[in-house]
């Protein structure tokens, strides 16, 4: 074996295999387990039925996010089913000694926002959560991916899951991003090129100048969207940007432990001789602000282009037509100028401070379009606080916007934040599936800049015209 031939992914994966099962999966050790109210109660019920305990409560962190209201969080939750689920998370966490950041806890927020911002997520870790966007944490050079509830139960009971090692893919994007082109556009561009299933079975490493130059927030946005092309997760080698972000974070190592960790983290990169099962190269110059026109995240396009005609697409004609019918769009139409009813900025994809800074950069000195309903939802209370401290709240208020309270909100519309049937939303979230943002809702995924441009003009607008 030659040590110089491993990838970042190999290094982290191989160091977490407790046992290899012949003609079966690896028994894979998990360093951090995030849980939330929706995918954990049945897992706790399973433990109970089997008479098992949580093996390492200190490696598990609970936060309420999927099913929480984004207004009046100080009042009792109205929907009895939601209230019951939140209560179950609280009770189960208390029973097994798990850290729990419930509603109104100042640390509360979307699981994939609060993990990193508190230094719970660190390079070289293995991280799982019953949520497919766990891939977000890969931005730190961690192997992070979503799991089902049976697997949540496994991790609670044994700190391990059974996983065959995925194949490896590297996606290189080199060059410099043009003005108005953000991490979200890079992600939507890659997915549009690979399709919504293009990376299924693979774990992705993002490499090249573009990712090196992204902030941690931007890297999280990119890794977050890995699942939207079917990849279990995506990761980026930790570097000085990563270390600077982590230094001083609440649960990050301190003093001597920091130095020791740092020395290890610096080894976490793909060796020059290492090979991948698949590799893609893209040029930053080809990427413009993106928007989706269909009902899966692979159906994205440059905002100035026309909707592709079905012969040019990878998916079957019938599925393509079904998708455009749902959206009320036609082949070869322009997206620019299409009416927008709702704008949603937030979610684990684009609910961090940088996203609200970008949003504010466009709305500053402008007014919200009258017919647009805008939901501005920070990813956490920490982000909410930053929005206030940096004067972004004043800019929002002046332009006619209101700031809501943290949570997953209209990204999956489990709470009351539902886009009405037939209405068009420009959303900074991650999925444009049929009914994702409410039954009959029509979602166009885009960056915070595109969302801001739509919010002030009331139609799909190229943000570069407003910068």
């Amino acid at each position: 074996m030659n040590n110089t031939s491993s990838t970042l992914f190999d290094k982290v994966w191989d160091s977490h295999v407790v046992r290899k099962i012949e003609d079966g999966p690896d028994v894979f050790f998990i360093d951090r387990h995030f849980i939330h109210e929706v995918t954990s109660p049945v897992a706790f019920g399973g433990l109970e039925n089997r008479g098992l305990k949580v093996m390492f409560a200190d490696k598990t962190f609970a936060t309420a996010d999927h099913n929480t209201p984004t207004i009046n969080q100080h009042l009792p939750v109205q929907d009895p089913l939601s209230a019951n689920q939140l209560k179950a998370l609280e009770t189960n966490s208390a029973k097994y000694g798990i850290s729990h950041w419930g509603l109104n806890n100042p640390k509360n927020g979307i699981v994939h926002v609060v993990g990193p911002e508190n230094g719970i997520t660190l390079p070289g870790m293995t991280i799982v959560c019953g949520d497919s966007h766990t891939s977000t944490h890969g931005a730190f050079g961690a192997i992070a991916f979503g799991i089902g509830t049976s697997e949540v139960e496994m991790v609670l009971a044994s700190q391990c899951i059974m996983q065959p090692k995925p194949k490896k893919m590297r996606i290189n994007v080199n060059g410099k991003l043009a003005k108005g082109v953000t991490a979200k556009d890079v992600a939507l561009y890659i997915i549009s090129r690979l399709t919504a299933a293009g990376a299924t079975g693979y774990f992705v490493e993002y490499a090249g100048e573009v990712f090196e130059n992204l902030s941690m927030e931007g890297r999280m946005t990119v890794c977050n969207m890995s699942i939207e092309m079917g990849a279990r997760g995506g990761m980026i080698a930790p570097d000085e940007t990563t270390f600077a972000y982590l230094k001083g974070k609440d649960k990050a190592p301190k003093g001597e432990a920091w130095d020791k960790s740092l020395a290890y983290w610096k080894t976490l990169k793909t060796d020059s001789e290492a090979t991948f099962d698949k590799e893609f190269n893209f040029d930053a110059a080809d990427i413009e602000p993106m928007i989706t026109f269909g009902t899966n995240p692979g159906m994205g396009m440059g905002i100035s282009k026309h909707i592709p005609v079905s012969q040019d697409t990878a998916s079957g004609n019938a599925s393509y037509e079904k998708s455009l019918n749902y959206m009320g769009f036609h082949e070869d139409e322009a997206m620019l100028g299409k009416k927008v009813d709702y704008v949603f900025i937030g979610s684990c994809t684009n609910g961090r401070i940088e996203d609200f800074r970008a949003f504010a950069s466009i709305i500053k000195g402008r007014k919200k379009a009258e017919h647009v309903t805008a939901w501005i939802v920070p990813g956490s209370h920490v982000v909410e606080q930053q929005i206030k401290e940096e004067g972004i709240l004043d800019i929002l208020t002046e332009a006619g916007f209101q700031l809501r309270q943290p949570g997953c909100s209209a990204c999956l519309a489990m709470n009351d934040d539902k886009i009405p049937a037939g209405k068009y939303a420009v959303s900074t979230s991650n999925r444009n599936f049929e009914g994702r943002q409410g039954p009959g809702a029509r979602t166009m995924l885009a960056s915070p800049l595109v969302a801001a441009a739509a919010a002030v003009t009331g139609v799909v607008t190229d943000p570069r015209e407003l910068l």
């Binding site: 099962i21 079966g24 093996m55 929907d79 509830t149 065959p164 899966n296 998916s315 019938a318 999956l412």
Partner: protein, 198 residues
Amino acid sequence: MAYDKFTVLTSTAVPMPIENVDTDQIIPARFLKATERKGFGDNLFRDWRYNADETPKKDFVLNNPVYSGKILVGGKNFGSGSSREHAAWAIYDYGFRAVVSSFFADIFKNNSINVGILPVQVSEEFLIKIFSAIEVDPKAQFEINLPDQTITILSTGEQESFDINGYKKHNLMNGFDDIDYLQAMKEDIQSFAEKSLY
């Protein structure tokens, strides 16, 4: 969670020749509020199955009495999107025991096996043959044989084999799950954890 052992399943099948059927379609988020695993089958494909006023949508396959069976046949990239195991629970609770497609999303595939549904991945060509067989005769029977790892269109005798790793196959055939296995190796996990960095 215990489930029925899976060996040989002979059944008619329900065709859903749509690509990229995501788990939000299989079970929309607003039905994920339960804290117990029961009743999810009622909301399987809720928004494709029912109108806003709760009346059934006549043109949806699950509302068409011509089609029935324990096998669901879907288009490419079945089960993409959210990791919600509720999607697999809903399919199981409705009465399906196997899902056939030419391509499955990873998490859905894992979740299915973990709840006792067999995901059968076939070639594009064979998938088309399955859809045609159902089109010719909605009562066409299929045999999914897990020990032999084959799926057969009984009306034509056409057969294809499918992949599943030996460990998962053994589990499904015996109704075991991963927790049984993991509990039996707790000492190894404990000593691994003691050496772990985090």
